[in-house]
Amino acid sequence: MLTNSNINPMTLKQYQVLRMAVAVILGVIFSQTIIFQNYLVPIVAVTVAMLVLILAKKKVKGVIADERDYAVGGKAALLTIQIYSWIAVVIMFFLYTKRELYPSYEAIAITLAYSTCLLMIGYGLIFRYYNKIAFLDKKMIYTVLFIVAFVAVVIFGLRLLSGEDDWICSNGQWIKHGQPDFPAPTVECK
C-alpha cells in the first residue's frame, strides 16, 4: 500500500540532522523572542517543531530508538534528576542565606526549591504510574485520577511559586501587592 510514509522515506542520518537543525532554529527563535519579549512566537515555534519532527519520524525507515536506548535513557534521566536536585538544593540554601544582601535572591531560592519539589513529585507520580497503575484492569480510571492529581500538583506548585507579594501593572503604574521584597520591575507598564 502506498502511504505518506513510503513516498519519500527518510534515513536515520537525515532525521538526526533535521532534529539537530530544528533544535538550533528553536534556540535562535527563543533567544530573539526573549530579547523582543514576545512569548507567543516560541509557543507556536515549539508546536510547529513538534509537528515537523513527528511527521519526519513517520518517514524514517529503520529503528530510531530500541530497548537499549530506553534503558540508557531511563538511567540517564534518573541521574539527571538526582544531580539537578542536589545542585538546586545547595544553590537554594546559598541564595537564601544571602537574601539580606540581595532581596531578589529569596525569590530565586524559592523558585529553585519549588521546582525541585515539583520535579521529584512528578517523577514519583510517573514512576508509580508505570510501576503499578499501567498494569491494572481499571487502568482508565486510574489514568484519569493520575492526570487530575498531576495537574493539581502543578497548579498548586505554580500558585505557591507565584506568591502573594508582587508588583501589579495597573493604569500604566506598578502598584505594590502585599509586601514584595524586591523593587518594582524596570520594564514599562502598559
Partner: protein, 84 residues
Amino acid sequence: MANGSNTASRISPRRLLNVNKGMENKIKELRTKLNITQEELAKLSGVRRETIVFLEQGKYNPSLKLAHDVAKILKVKIDDLFKF
C-alpha cells in the same frame, strides 16, 4: 553455605539493572556461521546496529523478547546462545 541460587539473590538490583554489563554469548560466532551481518541481524530483530554490537561484546543484557528473537534468527535456543 553459598550455592548458585544464593549467589543470584545476593546480587544487588542496581548490579542486575546495569545496562552496560551483559552476559557472555555466542552471537558473533553463530552470526558469522550463518553469514549474517550485524546490520541484517539488527534489522531482523528490530533494534539498532549498535545494540547488536554491545550484545556481541557482552556489554548489554537484552530483554527476554530480544534474546528470544535473536536466538530464533540464529536458529538456536536461548540457553545455547548465552552463557548463564
